[in-house]
């Protein structure tokens, strides 16, 4: 049941509009209930071929030899595609917005870095014949040591997974292995705190599981173009990715989509389109590449796992004085979009609360698992889980009601956030008040009277004095070793678990902050 609380923020709205705010029926609903909405797979083309890929059975292995001789003679096979057939067989999705280095092949050539990585594609008259040909491909692997835990992957001497990033971490601003947030001085905050709470949180990967699997149909079109029916969530993003990988002008490709059977972030990666188009180019026939459900579940990018360490300093009266983060994003074997999620995560810290001292380091870490990608709440979901569990523990620690504890620390209009921008248009306080009322959760009257618009600014609006030059340390504690200190924080452990990063090189004044994440237009060429 949903109710609109028109009484709140009423003076900020004009509710007398003719179409806006009306419960109008969806434009696509009739199509849905009559089963006439057209999804990519509902396009039937004459002489359509079927594409299936051979996937690696190993999580990490060198490819010594690929023998296709028997498969090529298999009935119904029209073409077998190898990495060498892909014009530009190395890409990273965000190269379109000039962020990160090309690190992922369309088809693996010398090495496989996760179980299920595509190595060879078979294009055949029927799915059955494609499957039969796949079964006849012989690949000689040399298994390599694997690493599946983010902290193991970051240790010196860990197996190098993705040679583009030899330290198994993505590179930020050309110099750092993580994204920083520095706001105030957490050590000062911890020193002033009555309680310190240091905790570890973990989210496992999550599969998007849309009812329609990823897929596309590519066909030669009139006048030398190719038409592509696709399940993509981002039409031009996929089109430009294909134009780059296939090294063709973007106007040679005509992408049609727009009605998609659920995505949730899992249909951005453009994994089927390049091979379907290449298949159509090499055979001159329409080619369908639809991911099977088992493939989608096991070998298509999930929401990546995250491990999060939080250390908080809180005063007896329930004010959070300092909050320190160490977040490790499990990107799997390739970057995909995790590098972006890391920066979004950093921007989100320390959550919707006003805390004078914040310190964070957020890492994109490579492991030998299926590459991770975007999903609903990308970069925020796991850290919000960690922060809100932590908030509940802190409330418990200081003996406050969890609702009231949040209200005390909630950000309001005019507060300064850790990324050094003023908070505007906030409404956390009102949401807490309404939820409490709705759930008949009793909070005291003075908390009911609080407002996102009242008692704002003043000390909460300034950027606090920075910390003296030292790296604060947050020890990564193994699971089950959660720590609470009731007096003063323990001194930082002598050995930082990561070597301190080198100082940033001097920059010419004119240049933009080096490697700052810089989006050219999606059509823009690469700058580096």
């Amino acid at each position: 049941m949903l109710e609109l609380r028109k009484d709140i923020f009423a003076d900020e709205r004009d509710d007398n509009l003719k179409e806006i705010g009306k419960p109008t029926q969806r434009q696509d609903m009739l199509g849905h209930v009559t089963a006439t909405s057209v999804y990519f797979n509902d396009h039937k083309l004459q002489g359509m071929l079927h594409l299936k890929v051979l996937r690696s059975p190993h999580s990490h292995a060198r490819i010594r030899r690929i023998d296709l001789s028997e498969a090529e003679r298999s009935p119904g096979v029209r073409r077998i595609i190898r990495g060498a057939d892909v014009p530009r067989n190395l890409n990273t999705l965000l190269s379109l917005i000039n962020f990160g280095k090309d690190d992922e092949p369309t088809l693996a050539v010398d090495k496989v870095r996760y179980k299920g990585e595509p190595i060879v594609a078979v294009v055949a008259e029927s799915q059955r014949e494609a499957f039969e040909a796949l079964a006849k491909i012989r690949v000689d692997y040399e298994p390599l040591p694997t690493v599946f835990d983010v902290e193991e992957a970051m240790k010196p001497g860990a197996p190098v997974i993705n040679e583009t990033y030899p330290k198994n971490t993505f590179t930020y601003h050309d110099i750092y292995d993580h994204q920083k947030i520095r706001f105030g001085d957490v050590e000062r905050g911890f020193a002033a705190a009555d309680h310190i709470l240091e905790q570890r949180y973990q989210m496992s990967p999550i599969e998007h599981a849309p009812t329609e699997t990823n897929g596309s149909i590519a066909a030669p079109d009139t006048n030398g173009r190719y038409v592509v029916y696709t399940s993509t969530q981002a039409l031009f993003f996929s089109l430009d990715t294909c134009a780059k990988i296939l090294d063709v002008p973007s106007n040679k490709l005509h992408f049609i989509g727009g009605t998609v059977g659920g995505g949730f972030g899992g249909k951005v990666d453009t994994v089927t389109e390049p091979l379907a188009i290449l298949g159509a180019m090499l055979t001159g026939r329409p080619v369908r590449y639809m991911i099977g459900r088992e493939e989608e579940m096991l070998y298509c990018a999930p929401r990546g796992a995250e491990r999060i360490f939080i250390k908080d300093g809180v005063s007896r009266d329930g004010r959070i004085l300092a909050r320190q983060f160490r977040c490790l994003f499990d990107s799997g074997a390739y970057t995909r979009l995790s590098s972006y999620a890391v920066v979004k995560c950093a921007a989100h810290l320390p959550g919707p609360y006003t805390i004078p001292n914040v310190y964070a380091e957020v890492y994109c870490v490579f492991t030998n698992r299926v590459p991770a990608t975007a999903m609903r709440g990308f970069g925020v979901t796991a850290v919000d889980f960690a922060i809100e569990c932590q908030m509940d523990k802190l409330a418990d620690l200081v003996g406050m009601d969890p609702m009231e504890f949040r209200l005390v620390n909630a950000y309001r209009d005019g507060d300064m956030k850790a990324h050094r921008r003023e908070a505007k248009n906030t409404a956390l306080i009102e949401c807490v008040q309404v939820a409490a009322e709705k759930a008949k959760w009793r909070i005291r009257d003075d908390f009911k009277r609080m407002s996102s618009l009242k008692d704002v600014g003043a000390p909460r609006a300034v950027v606090p004095a920075p910390a003296p030059a030292r790296e604060a340390i947050l020890v990564s504690r193994p699971a089950g070793q959660q720590r609470t200190v009731y007096d003063r924080p323990a001194p930082p452990s002598p050995e930082p678990i990561r070597p301190p990063p080198p100082p940033p090189p001097a920059q010419p004044a004119a240049a933009p902050s080096h490697g700052a994440i810089r989006f050219s237009s999606v059509f823009g060429g690469r700058r580096r």
Binding site: G21, F148, G263, M297, F385, I387
Partner: protein
């Protein structure tokens, strides 16, 4: 054997649009000769209602009934560039682009109407039912159909408009992380009540109450779809889902919808939702976007409710019966906390 109930809550915000901006979307709006409008986009509708919400934004801006607008999505030959459907950017970014295009088209439509009625454009207004008339003189009126015909065949005008919306890209300071990540944020607070079986570790949802602030709710039914479906996904993320049940050990991954656990229609619980609307200064009619953040508050609220019920902290997702049972045993039994 005991089944113990507990309540927990969480509150949070969520940034609207791609982090740091730099994610443009374009829209084209044009009228056919009888005053029916088409919105051309390359934006994707994957169920969230992109076609429907942009249709309402276009109709409102033009001042015509929603039935007179049709949204055509996702053809790279006819739809101008859009960054894509992700990062809760559809309503905010694409909505703004459609609004800009519709505004331009409306300008031409009003000029054409002014010429037909031989009045000053400034004196005209739309009635939202397909007519344009002189302010204060409803009888001096012309239908949008007649305006379109006149514009097309007599005046030689094209009733059309182009729109783009771009939040300029922000830099990120490598040393401090100073940046401008987003222009507006949605907000939420959710209370979850659960029942925990202290002998099996099974957690059952009892009910949820929530408040979401989403800027203007452009269409309350679409907002409800997102919030109800999103909360279901939140329960699923909290208690069921993962392709790696023994993470970081990658073995035993689910292969199908039977092994990949998600709540069934028999696992859902009542959910009462309040929607608050604090308009975003730069949102289309103040809208933000509910698409992503709706699942997030459920996970910690459930974890906190489990603590309230049996006194164990669940710091790892998903919270399986095994994890709950191990924690209860490690604690030497359930320790119910103060009832809320």
């Amino acid at each position: 054997m005991a089944k113990l109930r507990g309540r927990g809550m969480s509150s949070m915000n969520y940034p609207i649009g791609m982090n740091l901006g730099g994610d443009p979307s374009q829209a084209l709006v044009h009228s056919n000769p009888s005053g029916k409008f088409t919105v051309s986009l390359s934006s994707i509708d994957l169920g969230q209602g992109m076609k429907s919400v942009t249709r309402q934004i276009c109709a409102e801006t033009l001042g015509v009934p929603v039935e007179d607008v049709y949204v055509d999505t996702a053809d790279s030959d006819t739809g101008p560039h859009c960054m894509g459907s992700f990062a809760s950017r559809g309503t905010h970014r694409v909505g703004n682009a459609v609004m800009a295009a519709a505004r331009e088209a409306r300008g031409v439509m009003m000029e054409a109407a002014a010429e037909e009625l031989e009045v000053n454009v400034a004196d005209l207004e739309t009635d939202g039912r397909g007519n344009i008339h002189v302010k204060g003189a409803p009888h001096r009126s012309i239908s949008t159909k007649d305006v379109a015909i006149a514009a097309q065949f007599r005046q030689g005008r094209t009733i059309s408009g182009r729109g783009i919306f771009l939040v300029p890209l922000s830099d990120v300071d490598p040393e401090t992380g100073e940046m401008s990540p987003a222009t507006c944020y949605a907000h939420a607070c959710l209370v979850a009540e659960v029942e925990v079986d202290d002998e099996t570790g099974e957690v059952a949802m009892v009910r949820m109450d929530s408040a979401y602030e989403l800027g203007r709710a452009l269409n309350p039914r679409l907002v409800e779809q997102q919030l109800v479906g999103g909360a279901w996904m939140g329960i699923s993320h909290a208690l069921y889902e993962t392709p790696e049940p023994y993470y970081p050990d990658p073995s035993h991954g689910p292969r199908d919808f039977v092994e990949y656990l998600m709540p069934g229609p028999g696992d859902i619980c009542p959910h009462d939702i309040s929607v608050l609307e604090r308009p975003a200064p730069d949102g289309p009619f103040g809208a933000k976007g509910p698409g992503e953040m709706c699942a997030n508050p459920v996970m910690p609220a459930i974890a906190n409710a489990i603590f309230n019920a049996v006194g164990v902290r669940m710091d790892e997702l998903p919270i399986t019966p095994e994890k709950v049972l191990r924690a209860i045993k490690a604690q030497g039994g359930a320790r119910p906390q103060a009832r809320r």
